[in-house]
């Protein structure tokens, strides 16, 4: 089985700060993978490089057989990479439907001339796009807010709209950056269920950054741990739970080694 995402020795420096250092990791098709680590470990920087927001300083990202360094960042979506942002990045003046429709961009072909004429290609495309969007709305159970302006929605709802927009891209790999931060128990469980459904029903591979250990341990197939920009551990949730290096990263110092098993065990 070849990996869908193959990251080799990836590094990113901001001036003197080494945000990501020599990270290699692989994500196989159909996996749900998590990236965890303390604050400032370089998780979001890693995501920014995979999604084309930042260019790597060195190293390579292979995705679905292509080297991402060889294509411009705006083509990443068409290549099959979708993502959500840690701090909402919605088009806040638009309605939920409009936001999700924007996610269909790479699947539509109308030029400005087609658009001006409207009848014909553009109308056909808009109808089929709208149909897809309604399916996604139904899938994520946000029917009741579909015509609301996103700026007026609650945080949890906006996160869900972002997920819907990312799904509208029909990605092969979905990057979720702290989906459940700031959500209550019920919303968190909904998201966990959606992530499983996205993999099982839509066949989309998921790579997520998450601080909420319950969701990481419950639904991940593999977990990668970053600390100070370096990968310090990789394995199944059970491996990670028992890994002394991980406990040390989270708890710090020598004390961690002795308390590792009990603390991370309880946390999970």
């Amino acid at each position: 089985m070849t990996a869908l995402l193959a990251i080799e020795n990836l590094s990113k420096r901001f001036g003197g700060l080494q945000a990501v250092a020599d990270v290699s990791l692989q994500v196989a098709p159909g996996e749900i993978c998590s990236v965890i680590g303390p604050n400032g470990a370089g998780k979001t920087t890693l995501f920014n490089m995979i999604s084309g927001v930042l260019r790597p300083s060195s190293g390579s990202i292979g995705f679905d057989g292509i080297d991402l360094a060889t294509i411009p960042p705006w083509r990443f979506a068409a290549a099959g990479i979708g993502r959500t942002f840690q701090n909402l990045a919605l088009f806040k003046h638009g309605t939920v439907v409009e936001n999700i429709l924007t996610g269909r961009h790479t699947h539509l072909r109308s030029t400005v001339l087609d658009a001006v004429l409207w009848f014909g290609r553009t109308r056909r495309e808009e109808i089929s796009a709208r149909q897809r969007v309604e399916h996604i709305i139904e899938f994520l159970e946000i029917e009741h807010i579909r015509d609301a302006v996103v700026g007026t929605l609650s945080y949890g709802q906006q996160k869900r709209v972002e997920l819907a927009r990312a799904l509208a891209c029909e990605p092969k790999l979905l990057l979720l950056d702290e989906m459940v931060s700031g959500m209550n128990q019920e919303e968190t469980e909904d998201i966990a269920r959606f992530v499983l459904d996205i993999r099982d029903e839509l066949g989309i591979t998921v790579l997520m950054i998450e601080h909420e250990m319950r969701i990481v341990m419950d639904i991940s197939d593999r977990v990668h741990v970053l600390n100070f920009g370096r990968k310090i551990a990789e394995g199944t949730p059970d491996d990670i739970r028992r890994d002394p290096a991980v406990a040390e990263a989270y708890l710090g110092g020598n004390r961690a080694a002795t308390t590792a098993r009990t603390t991370t065990g309880a946390d999970a």
Binding site: A89, H105, V112, L117, T122
Partner: protein
């Protein structure tokens, strides 16, 4: 009170307007505009013509500044380029007026690529200054290229004759402007509800997210410039025809400010807003003159002597008042009124 919107096909969901009353009132408005030249006196008719031309230009600027969020202070540059393109093609080289109108769109669109290129890296105030510089460069270039533009002497243009119809009369020329303004309105509304319009708005609201959605930022910013300049250039050609004389002085810098005032007053990012704003700004100097004239004849005289200065003061005042009390513009007020009307007697 309406109970809800019930739709049965996806075609209805993507329709421009889903309510029959809106179509009905629009049809009434169009009929009224068609009847207008036969009812209005020549002064009111010329005011209507200017409003129609201004609406076309404002819709053009709306694509760039309203949809895409790129502020342009240099749109008068596209107006004057369009007017000169028409004048040179038709008056100097005796081309067909339709080719002239096409050229009035294409030439500014090409020029917009030059001014649009820096926009790929500049934002906000810096872009505004760049576009401002562009409009002054255009003026200088026109004045210097005497072999083509007659320099400061300008070019006089005659109203066209197309398809056996002469647009020389005021009524006929108003119809031409009405037709072009209506086509422009539908064109911009259609752009807004397509993938292109959504890409523009996405760039305005969050360019990082837009790129992650697969939108080519450079290409779409340039596309916004080109589309906007094309429409504005045609408005410029119409304005030149209205004045029957194309010169640099005919297109003062104040027009750029007026265009921005229209968008702010109407409501940024809305085609309906651009039209409503044009009507308000277009009628504002006249309305002020009439109201003040009621109080004293001296005021009336002041308007004839210092029209330009008073106009710019009025624009400034209106912009301030709208930003303070109705930042969403006339279109925002219209939405509030409509919501109250639809839901009455309930609050929401």
């Amino acid at each position: 009170m309406r109970t809800g919107d019930y739709k049965q096909t996806y075609g209805e969901l993507v329709a421009l307007v889903d309510s029959p009353p809106v179509w009905l009132w629009s049809a009434v408005l169009v009929l009224a505009l068609i009847a207008a030249p036969h009812v209005l006196n020549s002064y009111a008719l010329s005011l209507l013509t200017v409003i129609l031309i201004t609406a076309t230009g404002a819709l053009g600027l709306n694509i760039l500044t309203g949809y895409t969020g790129l502020i342009s202070l240099g749109h008068v540059g596209f107006l004057v380029t369009g007017a000169y393109a028409y004048a040179v093609l038709v008056a100097k080289y005796q081309m067909h007026p339709l080719i002239g109108l096409l050229g009035a769109g294409v030439v500014p669109a090409a020029a917009s690529l030059v001014v649009g290129a820096p926009s790929l890296r500049l934002k906000g105030l810096y872009l505004a200054i760049t576009t401002l510089a562009f409009s002054f460069i255009i003026n200088t270039a026109i004045l210097e290229m005497r072999w083509l533009t007659n320099g400061a002497r300008g070019i006089s243009v005659q109203r066209p004759q197309m398809f056996g119809v002469s647009f020389d009369g005021d009524a006929a020329f108003t119809y031409l402007c009405l037709a072009i303004a209506t086509l422009t309105l539908f064109a911009t509304l259609n752009i807004r509800r397509s993938r292109v319009g959504r890409a523009f708005v996405a760039i305005r609201d969050n360019d990082t997210a837009a790129r992650v959605m697969g939108i080519n930022l450079h290409a779409y910013k340039l596309l916004a410039f080109v589309t906007s300049a094309f429409i504005t250039g045609i408005a410029g050609a119409l304005y030149g025809l209205y004045l029957s004389f194309v010169s640099v002085e005919g297109f003062p810098f104040l027009l750029s400010i007026e265009a921005l005032a229209i968008l702010i007053v109407g409501g940024l990012g809305s085609a309906l807003g651009a039209v409503l704003g044009t009507i308000l700004i277009g009628l504002l100097p006249e309305a002020t003159r009439i109201i003040l004239g009621l109080f004293s004849a001296q005021m009336d005289a002041l308007f004839t002597t210092g029209a330009q200065e008073l106009k710019s003061m009025l624009y400034g005042l209106v912009i301030i008042l709208f930003l303070r009390f109705q930042p969403r513009g006339l279109v925002g007020a219209w939405h509030d009124i409509r919501r109250t009307w639809v839901h009455w007697p309930l609050r929401y």
